[in-house]
Symmetry: C2
Subunit: 400 residues, 2 copies
């Protein structure tokens, strides 16, 4: 009988179910109010419009929608994304964009094309867990740079960049997990130093369009590039339909210099041939008449309400010595308990109280963050948020 | 300005657009009759049923269909596949199956989980090009075993297996590219030797249900396993919805021992989180009432006609010293020209005659196969097949 453990590749030592994932399974009971996921609200899915679009697609374009497609992605959809990005100061040619099966695949392809075993990636501390998962497989090592309420603390950047960093990974808008936004001044410093040390930046921006207050800031992609002719910047930009339309379509995009897109496309070919044509053609049909702009306003209204309820309820219920971020957009906020507390240790007690979160240590490449937690405010409805924060504050008060 | 070439990982040296892919671009003109693709016929897509299914899904289950899903795949769909596999002697528990984004992703995940740089994979010569593309990235080396009209020549197997082979890759039914089927006797020998040398088999079976003549043969998966309790066999089985329903859904599945599935699921999590929920829920709705069995009969009728037209026209037009396989199912047949001929060299002449194929060398890990070509008979309509083979024979006659 085969002993499969003996057949696995060495890299699988780094592909593991985390302790935190096991913890989170505890919270999958129907009466638990979970702030742990990163799910959009089902209430904002434009179901009727999608239904209409699917019927049009199947009546007029089924030969394309049900057939194999190109690895770069469905060209009409790429054009729609191009147009919609122009509103956010991101200008590029059609050969600068490819469609991926969600943002996670974009991260995987970046790992595949750029990361040699032992390469150092500069990540924020905390950072998006899924990027670490994607790049662990390719043998990435991590160098951490801390965040404060204005994002990555770029005053520490130059020292770190002098130590042979391969890539910088940045989530400038309403960062997952903290909800903080990188200030304009810091964006400029980040670009300047990345160019000085010749280190490319991966700009991960799934939430940038979900802003509930303040002004939109220019993306790293356009601060770096001149945008006159061929893109000559130092940034690979990625964003997604998951938070602004539907994660069930598994559609995201990457924007990069043409040669880089061409290499990423070749890598994608061996990875999954292409992203689902059916989803792409339906998403095109939904979005082609500039639907997203109006839709995003609606999504922002709903999430802004939920964010405000969470912020208000935190103010009302949380004991002294507990602090939290004030996200101007996105899906998450970040709660810090006193240093001596451990959010992993009190997690079972929270589940006993029927409330769940993600312990902060999940988001630190260096294993710190034991006294923090990530709360999602997009999925639960306002009254549940109110009740859930109430429950959570009881648990914290008990252990503080 | 960034010199991106300097930032790529070493593995990208093996991620390249092939010369043949560049050649094939020549054939993308509307008046070229192409036998080069591996596309199902759009005529057999069950468009009306899919439309009905999508409307049901969006009316009753949109919260699930448009939301994030689990990495293992949508459980009702996994159950439907389980039931449909039982007809083909493949029995397993729900924990033995996962959904992937097409068969190509299954190959990528196998590479990620099993292949260390330098590991030797035994592949048929010729074999499926996409497997080589997927595994090149992970540093696979290939050991080739030739095919004849009964599939892999297993009399050469024992000698090859004694040289530290990590995995065996087999396409037992209507193999891509040759169309040949591995005989039952050879299946038993393959399993026996793989077990003796303790080398797992990857059984790739996207075409097995598309049989136009002869009897269904038991898959390697069930010849190897005892199927009484826990699967104790030596085979990872994979198949796909692409050829029996729609490739645009990007849905395939892998069946393997539970621990192996669990490791593959962890790898998939970092790769793309999960396969598109929308496609999965729609496919479930389409297939839940045993639709596929009837539908496959219809697909087989259409493809059998086209295969017969191709076989008849080859007989009628091809000069002496040209031979071809007689596939009992699937999408492809394999044409051999005299040894001194080179199908890559005459490809431009074929395109001038407005007909295209894939040169045989694309499918050989060792670069041989210069005198062969793969022809697809599922996509072009019968009258086009007739005309296309006529054109092709003219080219061959000119150069023979």
């Amino acid at each position: 009988m085969q002993n499969w453990e003996n057949v696995y590749a060495a890299r699988t030592d780094r592909i593991k179910s985390s302790a935190i994932r096991e913890l989170l399974k505890l919270s999958q009971q129907p009466d638990v109010i979970s702030f742990a996921g990163g799910l959009p609200a089902a209430e904002v899915f434009p179901v009727d419009l999608i239904k209409k679009a699917v019927n049009v697609v199947l009546e007029t374009n089924s030969d394309v929608a049900l057939q194999y497609g190109t690895t770069e992605g469905y060209t009409p959809l790429r054009k729609v994304i191009k147009k919609s990005n122009e509103k956010y100061n991101i200008n590029f040619d059609i050969d600068n964009i490819m469609i991926t099966a969600g943002g996670q695949q974009a991260l995987d392809l970046i790992g595949k094309v750029f990361i040699n075993p032992g390469d150092k990636v500069l990540v924020e501390a905390p950072t998006y867990l899924g990027a670490l998962q994607a790049w662990n497989t390719y043998g990435a090592e991590y160098v951490c740079i801390p965040n404060d309420e204005h994002g990555m603390m770029v005053d520490q950047l130059e020292k770190l960049l002098s130590s042979d960093i391969k890539l910088i990974y940045a989530l400038p808008n309403f960062q997952n997990p903290t909800g903080v936004t990188l200030s304009f001044e810091r964006r400029k410093i980040l670009i300047e130093l990345a160019e000085k040390y010749n280190v490319p930046i991966i700009e991960d921006d799934p939430y940038g369009r979900l802003r509930y207050e303040g002004e939109h800031l220019p993306p790293l992609y356009s601060i770096s590039g001149q945008n006159n002719n061929e893109y000559n910047g130092n940034v690979i930009y990625m964003s997604s339909f998951s938070k602004i339309l539907s994660p069930g379509f598994r559609l995201a995009w990457m924007i990069a210099p043409k040669d880089v897109i061409s290499k990423l496309v070749q890598a994608k070919q061996g990875t999954d041939l292409h992203t689902g044509t059916f989803s792409q053609v339906v998403a095109y049909e939904v979005c082609k008449d500039d639907f997203l702009n109006e839709h995003i306003k609606n999504v922002c209204r709903v999430y802004n309400d939920r964010r405000n309820v969470m912020l208000d309820t935190l103010c009302e219920h949380m004991p002294d010595r507990v602090s939290w971020s004030h996200p101007e957009g996105g899906l998450f906020l970040w709660v810090k308990l006193p240093d001596e507390m451990d959010t992993e240790a009190i997690f079972p007690a929270a589940v006993d109280e029927k409330v769940a979160y993600v312990p902060g240590s999940a988001f630190f490449a260096d294993g710190s963050g034991h006294n923090a937690m990530r709360l999602n405010f997009s999925y639960a409805q306002p009254e549940q948020i109110n009740e859930g924060i109430n429950r959570l504050s009881k648990v914290i008060k008990k252990y503080i």
